[in-house]
Subunit: 451 residues, 2 copies
C-alpha cells in the first residue's frame, strides 16, 4: 500500500541533472545587460538550481555572459578545494566521480559553455565575479572572435554609460557582493528570471521530486507505525500518555524515528520535520518536545531534502483513541477540502482558484476560512510550489495561472489553538489535463502499522 | 571507550540558550549609528546566533536599538505563523513550549528588552526593518521617556545628515533589504561585531558543542563498526571490494548508516557528512558514491548540526587490509602533526603558530606542507573555528591570538590525488592553560567494532 519502495538517494546518483541556462541568457539580453551574476553559498537555492553545485558553506559566484556570436559562457568561481566537485557537478552535470553527465544529461543542449575558475581564498566572491565580468567583457580584455570595433559598439549599446556595464542579479544578492560589483563600474538590475525558471520543472526534476517524496512516504509510514505500536498508559498516578519501546512517546522521539528512516534512505531532515501533539499541533512549525497523549491530534509534516537538493513535503494527522469530537469533524472537512482543491488543478486555471475552493469547502464544514494566525480555522494558504526550496513559486493563493510542470504542495488544514490541528498535504505535478500525485500515502485518522 | 553516551538533542532541549546582545549595542554606539539591522532566513547563522530563532525559510529581520536611557531594545520581525515560536525562542529563550527561559537563561542579564513583531506576509523583511527603525527612532515617532529636544539633539549627533540615520549591518545583508533601508534614508555601515562575538563561546555554547560532538562520536563509531564488520570479497570474477550486510559497501551506504545514527540521536547531517574511499578520499568534500575497496584509505568527516544550530566536526581515516605503505606513513605523520598542533594551543598564542607547527611536523615526515589543491601533501589550513557555522572565526592559519572560549577544529591531513587521504580532526576549546578536547574518539587505522 505504501509507495515508498524506491531509493531516493541512490536513484538520484544515477541520472545527472543539468539546468538550461537559456532563460538567464534571455534575461540578460532583455535588460540590455552584459552579464548575470549570482553570489551565495550552498544555502542559496537559486545558485543550487542554476549550477547544480552542492557547494561550499561560504560565498561562491556564477557569471553568465551571453556571447555576441551565440557562444554563451557560464563561469563558476569556486574555492580551490571544491574544484573537482564543481567540475563534476557544474561542467559534467554529474554528482559522482564516475557519473555520466555532460551535454544532454537532462535532454537538452543550451549552448552555454561552462567552466570553473578557482578563486584565491582571500578574495571575496563578489570581487571574483567582478573580475570575471571585467575579463569576459571588460575594457582591458580582448574577446575571442570579436574585432575591437565590434566589441566597442556592443559595449556602448549595452552599458548605461561608457564605462559602466549593467549586470542582472537576483534581488537578494549579498550586499557586500553588490558593493564590489558597483565599485567595478557595474550598474545592478534585479531579475525574477531565476524564480520563473525554477517554477516549471523538467521531467528530470519531477523524477527527483518524486524520489524524495517517496522517502517522505517511508518516513511517514515509520511515524504512523510508531503511533500504532504505542500503548496507552492511563495509570492512577500519572496522566494518560502514549508509551513506545519502554518510555513515554514524545514529539522529539517520534521525530528522531522519522529522521533516522529518512537518513537510511539517503535523504535528510533539513530542519523541517515538524511534529506537534495536542496544542502544539496547532503550531504549524513545531520542532520542540511535547508528550503525546491519547485523544490528541498528532500532526506530522515530513519535508526531506534529497541529494540533488530537491524537497519532499507530506503531512498527515492522527489521533490515538480519539473521542470522535473536534478532530473527527476537522479530518472530514480537510479531506473534503483536499478533494475540492485537487479538482481545480489543471494547466490554465488561475492559481488562487485552488485556495478559493479549499476555503469554501472548509467554510461549508463550519470552519472559519479566513482565520488569523492564533485563531481557530484555516489560517494559511492552500499550497505552494516545491523544488530545491520547500516554498517557491507558484503560490496557490497568488497571482498567475497553473502551468504544466508546476509542482505544488496542496495543504488544506484547520487548527484550534486550544485543541490541535489537522492538515493533509500532498505533492502534485500540474499537467495539461489535471495533476498527478507524486507519491501516494493513505488516509485515516486512526494510526495503522505500515511497515 | 567511546564517549558518545550523551544525548545531544534532548540535552539541548533542557537548558535554554540566549545571546548577550551587549556587543551589538556597543557596535551601534561605536559607529554613531542608531540601530543594528540584520535580515536573513533560517540559514543565516548570524541571525541564528543573535536571536536563537530557528526561523522560517524566508527572510526575517532583527533590529537592535540602543536606548538613550539604557533601555536597549531588540525587535524580531517574524512571519505571523512563527509568532509563538519566535516569542518562545527569542523572548523567553526556550526551544520548547514548557521550557524554562527568560532572563538569566545563559547566566547573564544584558538589559535588552526583546519583543516580536509580526510582519504582514506581503512585506519585505527589509521594508519591515526600515519601518521598525522609523518607529523606534524616526522623525514622526515619539520615543518613550525622551523629550523632543533631547531626541532631536541625539538624532543630529547620530545621523549623517538631518534626515539620514546610520545603520550598522552585517556585510552580507541581502541587497534588496539594503535598498529598502537606503530608500528610507538610512546610511549603511558594515560591522564585524557579530563575527567577533560569535568566536568566543559561553559555557552554555560549549555545552551545546560538546553534546553535538558526542553525537558525531556516535556516528563515527557506527562508521568504524560497519567497516570492521565488512568482509573482503576477492573473487576471481570481480575486483576486490568490501561487502556488508549482503551487498557491496559504498561511501553512500556508509554515509547513510552514519546519518541514521545521527538522526536517532537528535542531530542531523547538514549535507556535510563527507566520506571518500581511495582517490575520492583525497577529495575533501566528497559526497558521492564510490565503492570501498580493501587497502584503500576511507576518510570519514562527520559534522552534524544540533537542535540549537551548533555543529560538531570529527574526522578519522581507516584502511581495511592495508599493506602498510603510503597510508601507514601518512597516518603516523598526521597523528604526530596533531600532537604538534595541540601542543601550541593555549590562550595568547598567535593562531597561525598552530598552522606553522602542523606544517613543520608534516614536512618532517616528508610531506609537502604547502601543496596546492590537487597536489600531494598538506593542502589546507590546520583548522577553523566551529559554532553555529561549521567554519567561523578564528582560523588557525589566520591573524589574531587564540583566546579562552575559542572552539576550534584541529585538522591536519595529507592527500595524494592518486592514492587517497588521511585526516584526523577533533574539536577543542581553548583555555587559559591550554585546551580541552570536547569529545574523545580513539585513533587507529585498522577499524575496530565500537558498538
Amino acid at each position: 500500500m505504501i509507495d515508498g519502495s524506491d531509493d531516493a538517494g541512490k536513484g538520484s546518483l544515477d541520472s545527472p541533472l543539468r539546468t538550461d541556462l537559456t532563460p538567464i541568457v534571455e534575461a540578460v539580453d532583455a535588460a540590455d545587460a552584459v552579464a548575470f551574476v549570482a553570489v551565495g553559498d550552498r544555502f542559496d537555492d537559486d545558485l543550487r538550481y542554476l549550477t547544480r553545485f552542492s557547494g561550499p558553506d561560504r560565498a561562491y559566484a556564477l557569471v553568465v555572459v551571453p556571447g555576441a556570436d551565440a557562444a554563451d559562457r557560464a563561469v563558476l568561481c569556486a574555492p580551490p578545494q571544491f574544484r573537482e566537485q564543481a567540475e563534476r557537478e557544474f561542467v559534467s552535470g554529474a554528482r559522482t566521480r564516475d557519473g555520466n553527465g555532460g551535454d544532454g544529461a537532462d535532454g537538452f543542449h543550451d549552448g552555454v559553455a561552462r567552466e570553473v575558475r578557482t578563486e584565491r581564498t582571500t578574495d571575496h566572491a563578489g570581487e571574483r565575479a567582478a573580475a570575471v565580468v571585467r575579463d569576459l567583457f571588460g575594457d582591458e580584455g580582448e574577446e575571442g572572435g570579436q574585432k575591437e570595433g565590434e566589441r566597442e559598439d556592443e559595449e556602448n549599446e549595452r552599458g548605461r554609460e561608457d564605462d559602466e556595464h549593467t549586470l542582472v542579479v537576483p534581488p537578494s544578492i549579498p550586499h557586500d557582493a553588490a558593493v564590489y560589483l558597483d565599485r567595478a563600474d557595474n550598474a545592478l538590475a534585479s531579475t525574477d528570471a531565476v524564480e520563473r525558471a525554477r517554477s516549471r520543472k523538467t521531467d528530470a526534476e519531477i523524477d527527483r521530486l518524486r524520489r524524495v517524496q517517496r522517502a517522505a512516504v517511508a518516513g511517514m509510514a515509520r511515524a504512523e507505525t510508531v503511533l500504532a505500536e504505542s500503548e496507552v498508559v492511563d495509570g492512577e498516578t500519572e496522566s494518560p500518555h502514549l508509551r513506545w519501546e519502554g518510555s513515554p512517546l514524545t514529539t522529539e522521539r517520534l521525530r528522531r524515528a522519522v529522521n533516522a528512516t529518512l537518513a537510511a534512505r539517503g535523504v535528510r531532515d533539513a530542519g523541517d520535520t515538524a511534529i506537534g501533539a495536542g496544542r502544539s499541533a496547532a503550531d504549524r512549525n513545531f520542532v520542540g518536545d511535547d508528550p503525546i497523549r491519547p485523544g490528541e491530534t498528532v500532526l506530522i509534516d515530513v519535508s526531506p531534502r534529497g541529494p540533488d537538493g530537491y524537497r519532499g513535503d507530506l503531512t498527515r494527522a492522527f489521533v490515538v483513541e480519539g473521542d470522535g469530537g473536534w478532530e473527527r469533524r476537522a479530518y472530514l472537512a480537510v479531506e473534503s477540502a483536499r478533494e475540492a482543491a485537487l479538482a481545480e488543478i489543471e494547466a490554465g486555471v488561475p492559481a488562487k482558484t485552488v485556495h478559493g475552493e479549499t476555503a469554501a469547502e472548509l467554510a461549508a464544514y463550519g470552519f472559519d476560512p479566513n482565520a488569523e494566525e492564533g485563531e481557530a480555522g484555516f489560517t494559511h494558504g492552500a499550497g505552494h510550489g516545491v523544488g530545491v526550496s520547500l516554498h517557491e513559486s507558484p503560490s496557490l493563493s497568488g497571482a498567475g495561472e497553473l502551468r504544466p510542470g508546476h509542482v505544488v504542495a496542496v495543504e488544506p488544514g484547520v487548527y484550534d489553538p486550544n485543541v490541535g490541528g489537522i492538515r493533509l498535504e500532498d505533492l502534485v505535478v500540474v499537467t495539461e489535463e489535471g495533476y498527478e500525485v507524486l507519491a501516494e500515502y493513505p488516509f485515516g485518522i486512526v494510526p495503522v502499522e505500515r511497515e
